[in-house]
Each structure stands twice: as structure tokens, then as C-alpha cells.
């Protein structure tokens, strides 16, 4: 389903980034990095007043010719970015949302691990497995 899934820390450095191995990893890094521009724009556009009620799901950040980039921001300003192949038109908004929700749950589990230092890159096998499952569905 997804071709790239990234978790980005509050300070905009990647906590976790994984892409479909067949494709150019570097390109996805660039895509995800650039998408942070839009994420920040969207967060600040919601404004300070509505910050509490803000929806975590940011929707489509921007389309490119080949990919669609979706964003999601937790309340602690950790960003999730999912890149989906444009040719995969069967994906609905709802499915993207549920992917983000799953991602968020798994991320929460990682954070609950007492041996995990917040701010470190994520190396959890469970998280990895969940991400793999989301990417495998695509093929």
C-alpha cells in the first residue's frame, strides 16, 4: 500500500524512515523532508486558537506525478508521513486514516517501552513489523 513510511521527531529529524526496498531510498528521503514544509504550514495554518481541537490527520500534503504524500501530526508534534504510489488509486482517505491510526498506536507502544529514550531513533521490532505489514499490502 504505502511505499514509504516515516516518523519524524518534533525537531524535524527522522526517528524512523523506511521505504520499499526496490526503489530509490534517497528520493523518498527528499520527498519526506520536503513534505515537512507543508506539514509545518498546515500546523501553523490551523492556528493557535484551534490547536486543541486540531485533527491529527493532515490529509494529502501534496501530490507529485508519481506519489501522494499524506501527513499526520501527534499532539506532541511528532509527524508521521506516508507516501503512496499515485497509480494506486483504490486507496481511499479512510484507509489512509486507519493506517495513520495504526501507526500512531504502534508508536505509542514504542514510547511506552521503558527502555526507549524519547528522541532516539526507533529500533523496535514490533514497530518494524507493523510498518512492513503496511507496505507489504501494496504488492
Amino acid at each position: 500500500m504505502a511505499v514509504c513510511i516515516a516518523v519524524i521527531a518534533k525537531e524535524n529529524y527522522p526517528l524512523y524512515i523506511r521505504s520499499v526496498p526496490t526503489q530509490n531510498e534517497l528520493k523518498f528521503h527528499y520527498t519526506v523532508h520536503t513534505s515537512l514544509d507543508v506539514v509545518e504550514e498546515k500546523i501553523s495554518a490551523v492556528g493557535k486558537a484551534m490547536a486543541d481541537q486540531r485533527e491529527l490527520y493532515l490529509g494529502l500534503l501534496y501530490p507529485t506525478e508519481d506519489y501522494k504524500v499524506y501527513g499526520y501530526v501527534t499532539n506532541s508534534k511528532v509527524k508521521f508521513v506516508i507516501v503512496v504510489d499515485s497509480s494506486n488509486t483504490s486507496l481511499r482517505d479512510n484507509e489512509i486514516r486507519s493506517m495513520f491510526r495504526k501507526l500512531h498506536n504502534s508508536f505509542t507502544d514504542v514510547m511506552c517501552n521503558p527502555f526507549y529514550n524519547p528522541g532516539d531513533t526507533i529500533q523496535s521490532k514490533a514497530f518494524d513489523g507493523m510498518v512492513s505489514a503496511m507496505m507489504v499490502q501494496a504488492s
Binding site: Y13, V38, E40, P63, T89, G119
Partner: protein
Amino acid sequence: MTSLMLSLPNGANWLGPFCSPVNSWTGLLLRRPIDMESRAAIRRGEASLLELRSYLFCRQCTLLIFLGRPWEVTQRALELMHSCVQELCLLEVPVVEGALDCWVFMSCLEVLHRIEGCCDLAQLEANRSHTVGLWAYATDKLKSLGYLCGLVSENGPQSEELNRTVDLLAGLGDEKPETVHSLQSPYKKLKQALSSVEAFERHYLELCHAAEEMYRAIGRMRSAWLVGKSLAEFYLRKGDPGRAEVFLQDALRSYLSEGWSLLVTHTRKQMAECQKRMGRTEDYLQTSVLLASDANLTIEERKHFCQEILIFANRSTDIKAPSACYPSTVQKVAISMNAFAQLMQVQFRPSTAVVHSGAALQVELHLRSLMPVAVHLEQLAVSVHFSLKQGGTDGKARETQSRPGTVLFPLGNSSVIPPSWAVAGPSLVEVQDHSPSDPRILSSAGVVCNNTHLVMRHNDSGPSTDMPSRVSPVHVAVDNGVQMLKTRDVTLLPGNNSIAFSAPSQEPGTYKLCQLCATVGHIQLVLPHISPLVQYDVYSQDPLLSVEPLTDTLLAGLPQRAKVRLETGHYTVKKGDALQLSNIDTMPILTAPSSCFSAAILDSTEELVGQCLLSIHSSEKVTRISLPPTPSHHVLEFQLEMLCVIPLGCDPPEDLGLNEGARHRLRRSSHPNEPMAIITQRMSVDCPWSIYTTPIFLTFHIPFKARHQLLSAGKRKYIQVCLQNVSGVNFRLTDLRLTETQQGPSLKLQSLNAKTQQLVCSQQSVYCVWDVGWKEDKPACLQCVFSANFAPASEKDPAFHPFNYEFQLERVMTLYTMRAEILPAAGEQHCRSGVLCGLEMSITRLVVPDDDEGKADEEGQTEEFPTTNTKLMYKVTDSSGSWAVCGRSSGLVSMPADANANHRVQVELMPLFSGHLPFPNVNVFQYLPNSASSGQPLTNSCVENNALPLPVLLDDQVDAASVPRLGSVRRTATGEQRSGGLHMPRLEPFRPGQVFNHSQGRQVLVLPSVDQHVLEMNAT
């Protein structure tokens, strides 16, 4: 439409016409409200997919602009173009390569043009975020067209690429009549751009800059950097690495600050290429080092970059000829070590990091090499900054500082976490400044940030250690003049290495490790600062001589052993060196005149190195101890035995008390552990290393405390000596003796003590009593010496040592006796409480006063006086509170100067309780009238008045505890009298034993009064 295509089964008929090859890629045309040609073509069913979608979008656009929603057009345009490209791909429609790029490019520009046409500039500026996507898309497409047609290369397009260009231009068809006259139409732009390399460059740069500026304007910095990066790629292709590097640096800095390691690696690789092409050796080497240690690269790539470094390092030494990318330099190239290897820890041996001068000190560096292959270092050096230590450089300074022997370095600059986030937040300290005059007034308050240099550093512009392009010239410490730790020919294996140095330690002072510098061929890898601070101290120690007792305390009077400890420091004890101890009479050193004993030599870590014999020679004045040869910074230890002689009469007499027995009990109970008296002996030692004499002070404690008392029974006298063992050791006592020191024995001293050995336990006392009798003359003063021999009780074969105590007793003889009797009221057999009774005192003189003693009593003053009558003063006091003295409590008595002269006085008393009540105290004083008014008769009335100044001490409760105070009052009183000439009569207390009180300690039975109390008790 895309979903329709996907959901319908393959080969749906209606899709047929759309699957025909695309022959025309004219872009969107939005200038007409309705494109009638396309409409007709669609009606006929001849329109291609592109034409159909173009027509539909054109209509949408017109409507949206009418509705005043131009920004929706941009969004839909992007969507349209993305989906068209996707659909054509899905339907596998044959398209000439680059045709879609042409279409997208022209369409983008057309949409932008259309929107610019209907909005004013301010609106456009405000809605850059909507249009920038189109700009970027167009730029992207032009770029790929440029690459396709060979317009982005140093040599210009090849023939194949030219053919492709012609094909693409053919597909554009003729320019539409609407735009023929417009100079900036998309059609013209594309045609121009594809026609020549220069025109392409102009158009491409124009677009790029426009897109980048817009991104920057709306704050999409990351996108702007990405555009910048593609510009850099363009310049690199065009063979202009200088310009490319500027953009790469920009991007690299941001990637670094945000910690995107893969992007950093990629950008660095491009950068390395730039630098290599530009021949910037230093920067290229620095970047290569960074890349060689980059975990994101494959091992082959890393090895490649590592090889590049090594090739340079070796080539510039071998071949002096300049090459294209490695200009020959004689100077060494200095680059930062951070990426090459990390300093993990520094370990000192010995771990205190403090040694004496000349001692061996090992410094072990733990370096983690980040290189993929083993690197041979010709030299690894640490420059050391030396500073003289302030304060003393002697051995005492070494206790003041203690450093850990191992310094760990935090792994700061790993590429995963960007340095800006690794820094902790600002550490703030509250500061309040109080007014100096009144601390309650606050004159200023503030907050101080301790780490401004870290917090305030700007993210973008701050110099970063990882910045390869901005290598600030690494300063290499100059070789000469600075101390270095060096090792040659070290091979750093990938991973952890440990390298040991022996540190210089000649000069005393503090050595700080400053810089780490590794030399590989002509490359110097420098770690400019070692932080946290790593330093070690070298001290120079003067020889130190000390004498320590072997036991807790040194006891005087017994042979004691003490350890002499000589820390040689920087001095080497040579053969023939000797210590000369000047002899002290009161503390002889107990050795045979010339003998040998063993001494131990320890090294600086207190480990036994050897043992040797010392010889000692004593002469009359000095004791000479010849020392064995001892190396410097060693310790020589041997033992000496010495004896401190207890001085005679060390206790001042404290016999001013009146009631001796009571006083003694009291003292004992209040001071169970009396401190030992102390004798400090000064030993002067002449040492071979110094022209000055070294004084050594030894403190001895006197184990015993002696006190004496004179006890009387009528005329008979006894001397009691109390010997208290105040030390912590049990002693055996023998040979207790009391002797007279006067010439010609006039006393008969009869011992009433046990003859055998006595054991005195620690903190216990022994009492000895002698009956004193005299032969003929009654001495005015007795000078006696108490002597005893003592030895520690634990010794099997005790060697006894003497203890002497000298004291003097004055005015020993009993002059008066006093007898008191309590007489019940007349007609009663017993006293009753509450009923007056009489106290009859009878004072009897025993000795005729015109003897020597009488004169001695009167202290000269009374000598002028006719000694016929002596005036005594009596005073009845009751300390127990059981008696009430009625009427006069004190009075004067004039004693005739005859032996056995008697005087009786009666005082009225009232017992307050019933029972066996002790007699009230009766004190007798000597009354000394003033000398000036000697002729005046003394009337009883004037003396008996209690308001006189003299009864200061009479009013005082004469108590055992107040005895010293009484003495002092007396002394000041006499002083005043002498200096001020105050003509006051005064009282002189008798010495103990001069007045013997027969009724001391007597009791009298007092019956209860009439039984009123019993009645009261019944009532209650």
C-alpha cells in the same frame, strides 16, 4: 476518469480512441472561453485523451474564474496533469519520450499566465503557495527536457539528442493564433529553450530562481533547498562546480542541522565531486574523511574515499609534480580529526594523574577509528600545555586535588542526532543583588544564562564542526617549544584502538592536553581541542621528615617508640648522609651509644622495596643517625625509642579549700576523665638537604595526676597524696614514699600504706596517707616529695620508672580548736522544731602566738600590733536550710594570747525541721584591723553590722565549690587595699588544719513541735 478506467474491464470500447498514439502535445489553451475546435473534434470522436481532458479543464477553468476562485484552478491543474500522466501510462499509450514533459510545461505556464491575467500583483503575492507548485512542476519538466535533449552538458547536444528535439518540436504544431503576438507565450518559451543551450540555460535558471524565491517567500525552506540542489546538479553538469558548491553548502547545512543523515551523505558526495574538480584539496580531503566514515555508504564507497585520502597523503610525498586534483604542496594539510577518529577516553596510570617530578606517567588514549580500513599513522602526537602551578609545588598540594584517572568523552557529534538538538536547553540561574547597606532591600534581580554560547547559536549560520566546506583553518600547535606526547608508526584499525604514551614529567606544574594530531603522509588530522579538560599534575616534593608516635599518645616517664618517616622527595640520600638530633636533657633518646637497627625503604606507592641497617652514634651533644642510600621519592622509615622525663611538681597546689574531703569527692564526680597534662618537646634535627634545622615537636602526656591534702585530727596531722592514673594504660606501682626535702630531717613520717605492689587501673586513683610527727621544732612549712615507681601492668618483666611529686605545705599547726554544742530550750530535754535553742561555741587557743607561727599568721601587718590579743571572727551559716539563725550570726572574739585561752559565744538558732539535723557550719576567720586606724578601738557594733563592705565573702555561702572564688576575692581585696589605700579591716581565712572543728559532722536530734500537723493531716 482514472477510476473509471480502472474499474471497467479491460478493452472497454469507449477507451479505444484514447489509446491511439499521442501525436500532438500542444499545451492547455485557456485564453478562449470555449475551444470550438476541440469541441468539434470530441463530437466527431477524434479527440485524443489529452485533447479531451484539455477541453474539459478549459471549461472548468473558465467557470472557476467566473466564480472568482482562481486558486482552485491551480490545484485542479496540478491534479489534471498528474492524472493525465498517470492515465497515459496506465493505458500504455505510445508517447514520444519527452512529449508529456512538453505538454505539462506548456500547460503549467499557460495556467499561470491565465491566473496572472485575472489577478493583481498583490493577490498573486499573497497566494504564492497556490501557484508555486505549478512553477516547480514546470521547472522540473524543463529540466528533464533539458537532460533529454542534451542541453545540459558541457559539450552540447549530440545528433541523437538533436533528432529528439526536432521530434518534440514537431509535436508542438503551430502556435495558436491567440498567442502569436505575445512575446512570452509558453509555446515560444519552450521552442526557444529547446533550440539552443544558452537559451535553455537562461529559461531554466529564470524558472528555477523564480521557484526558489517563491518557496523562500512562503517559508518552504526545504523545498527551496531542493530546488537549489537541482540547480547545483545543473551547474555540476555544466562544469561549473564553484556555483554548484554554494547551493550544496546551503542544503547541506540545513540537512545537518535537521539531522537527515542520508541526505547529508548524498549532498556530501556531490560536494566532494565539486571540491575535487575545483582542486580544493583541503576541503576535498575533509569531505572525503567524512564520507569515509559515513555509515550510510557502502563499504566500497567508504574504502574509495579512504583510499583517496591515503593516495593524496602518499603521492604528495613521493611525487612533487603537480597533478590536476592534488596540487603539490610542501606544507602539510591539516584537517579536522572529528570524522576520522573519535577520542573515547583518556586514562592515566597511575590513576590519580598526579606524580612527582621525574616519575613515570602513562597516558592511554582510546581512539575509535571510523575509517573502513586500517590506517597507518606515521606519528600520533598530543601537544601539552605546561603551566607552573600556583601555590606550593610540594607534596602537600597533592591531597587538595583529586581527579578521576579516566576521562570519558561524550559522543557528541554522531551524525544521527544533529548537534543543535544534542545541546541542552538554556541553564538559567536566578541572581538577586541586595543593597549592601540593608540586605532586605533588593537592588536588582535577574536571570543569568550560563550557556548562552550554545543556546544563542544560530542554526543556519553557526559554524559547525561537521561543515567540511567551511573548514576554519585548523591551527596546528607548533612543534618546538611545546611539549608533546608522541608515538611513531601507529596503525589504527577500524574500531577501538588504544595508544599509550609516556608523559613528560620533568618540571613540576600542571600539564594540560590540548591538541591531538595524527600525521598520515602529508596530512595532519587534528583534534583542535580536547574537551572536557584533561590534565595531570607533576609536583616536586621537598624532603619531609616526620616523627609519628606508634601508639595513640606518647606517655611521659616511660620509654616510648616513635616512627621516624623520611620522605625523600626530590632529594637522593647518598651514602654518608646522616640526621643529627640535638640531645635534650628532658628527652634522651634511648639507644646504645653506637648500635644498628633496621629501617625500611618504601617506594612512593608505600610498597616495601628493601630493608637495611642504620647505625646510630650518640655523643654528648648530638645523636647521629647515618642514613642508608635511598633513591628520591622514596620513604625511609625507622623507629626510635625515647623517654620524656616528667618534671617535678607539675601540679600547682590547689589547697585553698576549707573542707577538703568534700571538695575531693565533688571534683571526682564532676570530672570522671580528667585530661592528661601535656609536655611538648622540641627536637631539632639537622638534615643533610637543608642548612636549616628542622624542628620536630612531640607531645607527651603525663600519665599521672597527683594531689596532696593535709588532714588533721586535733593536733595530729596526716598527709594524704592522691595519685590518679589519667592515661589509658593500667600501671603497677611500687615503692610509694614520702620524703622531706629540707635539710635535716625534722619530721617523722610514718607510712600507713600497703607495702606491696599496687595496681592502678586507667582513670582510677590510689590514696596514700602518712602520719606526720615532728621531733622538736614545729616547722613553719613542710616541703615534701612523693615518689613512686611505676610500670605498665601488661609488662611481664616490668622495668619501673620513677614518678615524683613535690609539694609544700604551710602553716600546718592547729592554732585553735572549736567545739560547738546545741542546747535545747530551757526545761526541755531535746530541741524541738520551731522552738529557739542555743548554739554554744567554745574556741580554744592551743598555741601561744608569739611563736614563729603566730607571726607568720599575721603576715607582717600585725607585727606592729601588740600581739597580746588576736581578734577572730566567727560566722554561723547553714547551707542545708534546716536552721534559722536568730539574731547575730557572726561576731568578733578577742582571744587572749595565752595557751588554752578559751572563749565561749552563744548564738540563737531555731531548727526548722525535726529529725537528726546536722550542726550548722561555724567558720572562724582571722580579723585584721586596718593599719592606719590601728589606734582606734574597735567596737563590736561596727563590725557586726552585716552592711560592712568586708562581708562580701561572709555573705557568700562558704561552700566547697566556691573555694577558688573566695581566694580570688581575697586577693583582689588585698590588692585594692594596697593600691587605693582603702582603710578597711579585712578577714583572712585560716589555712586548712589551723582551726580544728570538733563538732564537724555532728548531728542533733530535733523533735517535732506540738502535734498541730497531725491534726491537720487528720482533717484532710
